[in-house]
Symmetry: C2
């Protein structure tokens, strides 16, 4: 989103720090209409190669580049970056720059694409911009959100059965709900969790388990209506954040990324129920993710629930033919949860 | 959206005025989870038949009805209302109630369904709730919207070619953009136009031409960034409106319906340009609609453009083999516009 001015400044500052005029070679992947590549050219890069998979966007990038007289400096290649080889480049680049983040930090496979280029085409000292990224999750209380997700009574009529439609299994983007999180009141009721901690210059796929327990500490009494997911990309003191408290005055950023929300089910009943949290107490969640970390899911595990280790034991016991009926039921429930992860895709 | 409390009050008030306890028979079509039918039962209707096409929603309606002890009063039928016949009803109903509106008033085919029931199953004096509906359109100036739809320059770089991606042909729902119109600043720069004026007790499909000229009078100097579409359903002094100035405190209504926006192209260039309007002046638009009025589209016609009558003349001339090349080109342009109407579907 070219009108996200703080985003533009973030990239401009980082490029400025690393570009030596007349010397630096820059590779951009996922170049879109070419703004970051043109920034690099404007800052005096010796050469710039802009890789973009969409033919339509490539055409636009070419037009923009021509309008700004950078045709001799910037080469646009219409290809997927995984097809790029050394023969397409003057030499190994000094800078790899990209902005291929989604509503979730890795939602558009940024780590896959950057790791691929890093391992095949970069020098050990190539600067990757931006270098660091963190996917955060935090529990929030948000009655406004609740007003469109749950029903109780109206004029004495009991409407609570409608709550069986409440989707507490999927991470849904605010863009899909149709509102800006930064335009509604909410409060954080837990500490933020660093769900994924990425160094784009070093992290390799497989760095995080596909299923793990998270202990989330409440910092306020309240109802945890949802897990709010936002990210920060960071490099030195420069930060680009999708947290709703950082996008209050940044409409273009909310419209490009927004945040993700997963409604919380506080119990193991047929109809989802509220999770009331108390300041200082810890709440156990299982965080599931797909192989490529493009998808995330959080399941609250009530205090009396079985742990993942227990489930492994149960599974082993079943395989050994020792499982009783109750254990089989629990095992089926765990399997169903994993299935749900694969079904959800709000991209 | 059951938590849209003013919506609930609107229907409750209208039902209350027409129901004679112990005497009135009520038919609801598109009953969803059954709230309007339960209101009718609560108000003492003699009988209620609730028709709903989705098996899942029918099951929910049954559960809600059971939880409120209305099983003997309300019969739920899982069918499309066009399959409903007199044999499904105790007798012709005294009231037909429905809430089958979309982001556009007729976006979910309310007129088709209501006209069908009206012509086959109602008495001349059956009360239709709500009875009246108006689809409005008004030109707005909204720099916030513009900030995600147009690009100009950044740091001296010319980025204007990106505006060739600007979609000025489609009516796009605010839910699809991902923001509430009631949460961003904008000003109306024209008088509102009554695009469709419906009396659900009388209007028949075919009531409005598929293409017609609208003369829109500016009430303020400014830039007409978009046509904003909202509707009002009305019955006596009771009004239910989707206008963003009426939904400021009604989050559920914005999340259910929101509004539609069509960006305006002020010229006939390859890249869309601004339409500057001056207070008191009139601007000519062609409003196109599909046969069933489910889709609407507005095309601004600059002062020097050909009128629809001219196009009819040109078409006749071409058919008579008298058309020259220039006329053929204009005719092709008009045909392309009609095609665009059929392509857009933001439901």
């Amino acid at each position: 989103m070219m009108n996200d001015l703080p985003r533009n400044r973030f990239y401009y500052e980082l490029l400025k720090r690393s570009i030596v005029p007349g010397e630096t070679g820059v590779l951009e992947i996922g170049a879109g209409s070419g703004l970051l590549s043109m920034m690099a050219a404007q800052l005096g890069a010796q050469w710039v190669v802009a890789v973009e998979g969409s033919p339509e966007m490539c055409r636009l990038a070419q037009e923009n580049i021509k309008a700004n007289n950078f045709e001799t400096k910037i080469k646009v290649l219409n290809m997927i970056s995984t097809d790029l080889t050394l023969k397409h480049l003057p030499r190994r680049p000094d800078i790899l720059v990209s902005e291929i983040f989604g509503t979730l930090l890795l939602g558009e496979s940024a780590l896959d694409y950057i790791q691929d280029i890093r391992e095949r085409l970069l020098k050990p000292d190539t600067k990757i911009i931006p270098q660091l990224g963190v996917q955060y999750a935090v529990l929030i209380e948000c009655p406004t959100l609740e007003s469109i997700c749950s029903v109780d009574t109206w004029n004495g009529l009991n409407l609570s059965h409608v709550n069986s439609l409440k989707d507490t299994a999927s991470c849904v983007f605010t863009k899909k709900y149709g509102f800006r999180m930064s335009s509604v009141p909410f409060k954080r009721v837990s500490e933020p969790i660093r769900v994924l901690d990425i160094d784009f210059a070093a992290t390799k796929q497989g760095f995080a388990p596909l299923e793990r327990e998270l202990h989330v500490k409440a910092i306020e009494d309240g109802v945890a209506h949802a897990m709010l997911l936002y990210w920060e990309a960071r490099d030195g003191d420069e930060v680009m954040s999708t947290a709703p408290w950082d996008t209050l005055d940044n409409f273009p950023r909310d419209m490009q990324w927004g945040q993700a929300l997963q409604l919380i089910d506080g119990g193991h009943h047929s109809i989802p129920s509220d999770l009331h949290v108390r300041r200082g107490e810890e709440y156990r969640f299982v965080c599931c993710t797909s192989d490529d970390h493009v998808i995330l899911q959080f399941n609250y595990e009530p205090r009396d629930a079985t742990t993942i280790e227990d489930l492994d034991d149960i599974e082993a016991a079943i395989e050994e033919g020792e499982g009783d009926e109750e254990e089989s039921r629990q095992h089926a429930a765990a399997a169903a949860t994993t299935d749900e992860v694969n079904k959800e895709d709000d991209k």
